[in-house]
C-alpha cells in the first residue's frame, strides 16, 4: 500500500499508509487527522474500522496519504506528539506472520500488559487477537495471537512471547516453523 520513504527521493510526493489506534471517544479521529493536514499530507482515504477493536480495546484506523518522505516523517512524529498511537508507518514492513496460542490466567495477569510487553520487546505487532474462556474453569482462558514481525525476526518474537508467558505462568503453544528445524 505504501512505500518509498528513502532519502534519495525525499522531495517526491508518494502514497503512504499509517495505521493508528484510537480511543473510542468523540473528536479522536479529528485529532488524529489534524497533524496530517498541518504537515502537508494530502489525505487519500481514511478507513475507520469501528466494528473491530485492537488488543488494547481501541479502534484501528488506516489512513492513506500523499506527501514527500520528509513530510511523512514529520507527520508521524507529530501524530506521536499528539498522543496518537501509531501502529505502523510507511516503509516498516511486517513481512512475516506467526500465530501463537496463550493459555492460563490471562485476565488476572493483566492481558493488556501482556500484549504491550510482547509488542514492546520485539519488532512484532499483534495484528489479530481472539480470546475465549475455558468453560467451567475459573480464571483460565485461551487467546490466539497473530503477530506480524519484520523479516527475519520471527524467532526473536517467539522468544519474547515465551519470556513474557513464563513470567506470568501462561502456557504457550508455538507454531511449528518447519524451515528452522
Amino acid at each position: 500500500m505504501s512505500d518509498g520513504t528513502s532519502d534519495g527521493d525525499a522531495d517526491e510526493r508518494q502514497a503512504h499508509t499509517v495505521r493508528l489506534e484510537l480511543v473510542d471517544e468523540p473528536g479522536e479521529l479529528l485529532k488524529a487527522l489534524h497533524p496530517i493536514a498541518e504537515n502537508g499530507g494530502n489525505l487519500l482515504s481514511v478507513f475507520h474500522e469501528r466494528g473491530s477493536l485492537t488488543p488494547r480495546g481501541r479502534i484501528p484506523v488506516e489512513v492513506d496519504l500523499e506527501c514527500t518522505a520528509r513530510q511523512f516523517r514529520t507527520v508521524v512524529e507529530s501524530l506521536r506528539d499528539a498522543g496518537v498511537n501509531v501502529i505502523q508507518a510507511g516503509t516498516e514492513h511486517y513481512g512475516e506472520e506467526v500465530t501463537v496460542l496463550l493459555s492460563g490466567p490471562l485476565v488476572s495477569t493483566d492481558l493488556s500488559d501482556t500484549l504491550s510487553q510482547i509488542e514492546a520487546c520485539t519488532s512484532a505487532s499483534v495484528v489479530d487477537f481472539s480470546m475465549t474462556d475455558e468453560p467451567g474453569v475459573d480464571d483460565v482462558a485461551s487467546a490466539r495471537l497473530r503477530l506480524a514481525a519484520t523479516e527475519g525476526s520471527t524467532d526473536a518474537a517467539l522468544d519474547c512471547v515465551r519470556d513474557v508467558a513464563d513470567e506470568k505462568e501462561l502456557h504457550v503453544v508455538e507454531p511449528l516453523v518447519e524451515g528452522s528445524a
Binding site: 500465530t99 501463537v100 496460542l101 493459555s103 492460563g104 481472539s130 480470546m131 475465549t132 474462556d133 475455558e134 468453560p135 467451567g136 474453569v137 483460565v140 482462558a141 485461551s142 487467546a143 490466539r144 502456557h171 503453544v173 508455538e174 507454531p175 511449528l176 518447519e178 528452522s180 528445524a181
Partner: protein, 316 residues
C-alpha cells in the same frame, strides 16, 4: 537365529509369539521374577500359561536367561530413566559375551547411548534399536539407509496416546481430563499415562533420533520438554477457528537442538495425523522431505520392528 527375550510385556510376548514366523528360535525368555530356558527352543504356550498362573514366565532365575545359549538378546523390559537399569546391564552382559542386542527398551539408547556404543565397539556383537522410535515405522533403518550425514533434521508425532487425546479434544470439543479417561477406557492410554502426556516418552525417542543424527551425546536431559496437560480445549477451539490444530511434536534440528512440545500446525499439515497414528518427517540433503507414518505402538507392531532388526544382523 537363537533369541533370548528379556521382558514379558506386550512387546516381549509378541516377539516370542512371532519369532518362528521370521525363522528364529527363542531359547530363553525372562521377566523380572522368573525365566524359562531351553537350548532347543522354549515352549511359548507353557511360558504364557505359567505367567498367567504364577505371575512369571518360568521357574528359573531371570539371570539364567542372560547366561543361556543365544545369538541375539532382545531387550524388551520397561523403559527406565537415568541409569536405564536393568536394561543397560542386560545389554552389557550380552555384548560382553559377543552376542547381538536388539532393543525395544528406549532407556539404554536414550539415556546411555555413548556407553552402549562403547560396549558395542569392543564387542563382536551389534546393537540395533529400530523398535524404540515410532513402533512399527522403519525410522532408524530409513535414516541408516540414507546415511545420517544426509539427514539434516527430523520431526514428528511420536506418541500415540498424546496424539489421540489432542485429536479427540479438537474433534469433539471435550476437555483434557474427559478425553484422557476415555483413552484409558479404550486401552489407548495406560493407567499411569504420565510419560505419554508430559512428553517424556516422545522426548526419549527424540534423544535417540538426535543420537543417531548427530553421532551421540544426547540424553533426556538435553531435550526441552513440554507436555499436553496444559493445553485447554478453548485453545484448540481458537486454533480450529483459524484452520489450525495442535499436535505434540518432537524435533531434532540441524543445529542439534532437541525439543518436544505442543505446536500449532495447519489442519491439513502432513504432521496433523489423527488418533494413535505416528509420523516422522525427515529433511534430507538430496531427497527433500520424507514422511513415514504408521502405528507407533502395540505388541505385534513393535515386535515386527524388533524382528526386522534381528533380520538385519550379521550371522554370528
Amino acid at each position: 537365529m537363537r533369541l533370548a527375550v528379556m521382558g514379558a510385556g506386550a512387546v516381549g510376548r509378541s516377539v516370542v509369539e512371532l519369532a518362528g514366523e521370521y525363522g528364529h528360535d527363542v531359547t530363553a525368555f525372562a521377566d523380572s521374577t522368573g525365566a524359562i530356558v531351553d537350548a532347543n527352543g522354549i515352549d511359548a504356550d507353557a511360558a504364557f500359561a505359567h505367567k498367567e498362573r504364577v505371575g512369571s514366565v518360568g521357574e528359573d532365575d531371570p539371570s539364567a536367561a542372560l547366561g543361556a545359549e543365544y545369538d541375539c538378546l532382545v531387550e524388551a523390559t520397561p523403559t527406565t530413566l537415568g541409569d536405564a537399569h536393568p536394561g543397560f546391564e542386560h545389554v552389557e552382559a550380552a555384548l560382553e559375551r559377543g552376542r547381538h542386542v536388539v532393543l525395544a527398551n528406549k532407556g539404554p539408547v536414550a539415556e546411555r547411548y555413548d556407553d552402549v556404543m562403547a560396549l558395542a565397539s569392543s564387542s563382536a556383537g551389534d546393537v540395533r534399536f529400530e523398535a524404540t522410535v515410532g513402533g512399527a515405522i522403519p525410522v532408524i533403518a530409513t535414516i541408516e539407509g540414507m546415511d545420517p550425514s544426509h539427514v539434516t533434521a527430523a520431526r514428528g508425532v511420536l506418541n500415540g496416546t498424546a496424539n489421540f487425546v489432542l485429536s479427540r479434544m479438537a474433534a469433539e470439543g471435550l476437555g483434557y481430563e474427559h478425553v484422557l479417561a476415555e483413552a484409558q477406557d479404550l486401552g489407548v492410554a495406560e493407567a499411569d499415562p504420565t510419560f505419554d502426556v508430559d512428553g517424556t516418552d516422545a522426548a526419549l525417542k527424540c534423544a535417540i533420533l538426535a543420537n543417531v543424527l548427530h553421532g551421540g551425546g544426547y540424553s533426556l536431559a538435553d531435550v526441552d520438554v513440554q507436555g499436553i496437560a496444559d493445553v485447554p480445549s478453548s485453545a484448540l477451539d481458537l486454533a480450529a477457528e483459524d484452520g489450525r490444530t495442535v499436535r505434540l511434536i518432537g524435533e531434532v534440528t540441524e543445529s542439534g537442538d532437541v525439543r518436544v512440545g505442543p505446536r500449532l500446525v495447519t489442519e491439513h499439515d502432513t504432521l496433523a495425523v489423527t488418533g494413535t497414528q505416528n509420523i516422522v518427517q525427515l529433511e534430507t540433503t538430496n531427497a527433500g522431505r520424507l514422511n513415514i507414518s504408521g502405528r507407533g505402538a502395540g505388541g505385534p507392531e513393535t515386535a515386527s520392528a524388533v524382528l526386522a532388526d534381528v533380520g538385519r544382523l550379521p550371522e554370528r
